[in-house]
């Protein structure tokens, strides 16, 4: 194995984390989608590096799927969605951004300590990045919590999947192909359903502000 490989994977992992933070701090939906696509690209990069370093061809396939789905298809759908829904403007977050980033930093520390015992069990050379993967998942969650508009929440959901995927590849060199395909399909279908759902929300409330969903509860 090339000694450079772990470092390159680390670099991609750091890029993933950096992008997760950038997404946390981004107000504009269009930029958010681009960041999401970049995150997909970082994921592809790390998967390809791992495939090349450990000589596992199935990782190439999963990288290809990731590329097709997360770098091309989903961003395209999202851009289309944003155009159709006409929600290109800035979205204020519920908590101010520096506070969110401080919470994010605490999450990183937490995730790393959480991942420490797990990653010692793993034999993967990229196990050190498990903490980053976990942190990405938690931060996507945080992003979903702190956005009041539906589209950023969908992006948060999708980027959470990115984190999970990265966790799988870094800890165990990826999931079995069947599972991976299944997840990919799930995400795609989920995206379509969410898209339909978003149109429904707007039909109903003339807005994508999910505050309106609060009215749906029974009084």
């Amino acid at each position: 194995m090339n000694p450079l490989a772990p470092q390159v994977v680390n670099l991609f992992a750091a890029g993933l984390l950096l992008l997760a933070f950038a997404m946390l701090a981004q107000r504009r939906i269009v930029t958010l989608i681009d960041l999401f696509a970049l995150q997909g690209l970082a994921l592809v990069g790390s998967t390809v590096t791992m495939a090349w370093a450990t000589d596992q061809p199935h990782l190439y396939y999963s990288a290809a799927i990731t590329f097709a789905l997360k770098v091309v298809a989903l961003p395209w759908i999202l851009h289309r969605l944003v155009r159709r829904l006409n929600v290109k403007w800035d979205v204020e977050t519920l908590i101010n951004i520096p506070t969110m980033m401080i919470v994010g930093i605490l999450l990183v520390v937490f995730a790393f300590n959480l991942a420490l015992p797990i990653s010692e069990l793993s034999r993967s050379f990229a196990r050190g990045t498990l903490g980053i993967a976990l942190a990405c998942v938690l931060m996507s969650f945080l992003m979903m919590i702190t956005r009041s508009k539906a589209v950023p929440q969908v992006i948060g959901f999708l980027s959470m999947e990115n984190g999970l995927f990265f966790a799988a590849t870094s800890a165990t060199y990826g999931m079995p192909m069947v599972v991976e395909l299944g997840i990919a399909l799930d995400v795609l279908v989920g995206m379509v359903i969410l898209g339909v759902f978003l149109f429904q929300i707007r039909e109903q409330f003339d807005s994508l502000d999910i505050h309106h969903l609060e009215k749906l509860k029974e009084d």
């Binding site: 450079l4 470092q7 390159v8 680390n10 670099l11 992992a13 750091a14 890029g15 984390l17 950096l18 933070f21 701090a25 101010n96 951004i97 520096p98 980033m101 401080i102 994010g104 930093i105 990183v108 520390v109 790393f112 050190g128 990045t129 903490g131 980053i132």
Partner: protein
């Protein structure tokens, strides 16, 4: 300390004094090209300085000694910073006098004097500028220090010379922690050098100006010194950035060949960096002043994150 050391130190001084205004001129040129305007000549900043030095200095009746002393203090702070940062070689006799923390301290000292001098005349714009400058400073300084700390942790030293020589010998191009630090550093240096998303030195708009508001009352030789100090600051920041993120080409001790090559390499790197700066300035829009704290807080937190990534990944 020997004769060679003193000569190198003097060379660094002269290089800073000459390249500083040239870098400012170069950035202005690039920006003009990118924006489709006719560019001023490269030496325009020198001509402006020369003109200003000849003009008499007009001072407000109220101006006190602080106002007159500040340009000299600020200028020598910046020059000192340029003499400490390894621009051409790490073998500078003055380098041990100040490490990374003291470097930030020097910038902060200059900032304190600039702000106090701006408040000295007692105009509305002066105190407004001072307030905004300190606002930028109190977030940018910690962010810059976090960037430097990340590099210090990598090389387990806060001495700039040691940082550069250990970073130049690493095996991988970009360490992940340095990627974070690099983003933070870019944000900080834009803010610190009064560049576009934070400040626009080309306008005198009340709503936006920071750097110009500070210098509003200055004229003649005092203004010249302040402007020269500002271009030295840009030079110092650029060199610090190059030293941290692209340390190749800085000569180590007793390496004559590298020393001969150091100046052309530095000029090339600065030219590339200056172009990039002009590009950023052209692409980005000036942000509202209320957004500046958020921008800088983000830079600061990215710096902290760089530090954490360094400790967590060990990379």
């Amino acid at each position: 300390m020997n004769v060679e050391g003193i000569l190198l130190q003097l060379t660094a001084l002269v290089v800073a004094l000459v390249l500083g205004p040239l870098l400012t001129g170069w950035v202005n040129q690039c920006r003009a090209w990118l924006q489709g305007r006719r560019a001023p000549p490269l030496t325009q900043p020198f001509r402006a300085l020369h003109k200003l030095f000849w003009k008499e200095s007009v001072m407000a009746h109220e101006a006190s000694a602080m106002y007159r002393a500040a340009p000299y203090v600020v200028f020598s702070c910046m020059l000192l910073a340029c003499m400490i940062i390894p621009t051409l070689t790490t073998n500078l006799p003055l380098a041990p006098a100040a490490d990374a923390i003291a470097l930030v301290g020097l910038f902060a000292l200059a900032r304190l004097f600039v702000s106090l001098a701006a408040m000295d005349v007692g105009t509305a714009f002066g105190s407004l500028g001072a307030r905004r400058e300190m606002l930028v400073g109190f977030l940018a300084e910690p962010a810059f220090l976090m960037v430097l700390f990340t590099a210090s942790l990598i090389s387990s030293s806060t001495s700039l010379a040691t940082i550069v020589s250990s970073l130049a010998h690493r095996e991988i191009a970009i360490l992940p922690s340095l990627a974070f630090a690099g983003v933070a550093f870019t944000m900080v240096s834009l803010a610190e050098n009064a560049r576009v998303p934070v400040d626009n030195p080309a306008t005198h708009l009340e709503l936006t100006m920071i750097h110009e508001a500070l210098l509003l009352e200055y004229s003649g030789r005092h203004l010249a010194l302040m402007e020269w100090a500002a271009s030295l600051k840009l030079f110092a920041y650029s060199c610090a950035g190059l030293a941290l993120f692209f340390p190749w080409g800085v000569a180590q001790a007793n390496d004559r060949v590298a020393l001969a090559l150091a100046l052309p390499v530095l000029v090339a790197k600065l030219a590339a960096g200056g172009f990039l700066l002009a590009l950023i300035e052209t692409i980005l829009a000036k942000m509202r002043i209320f957004r500046v704290p958020e921008f800088l807080a983000t830079a600061f937190l990215l710096g902290v994150l760089a530090l954490l990534v360094r400790l967590l990944l060990g990379a």
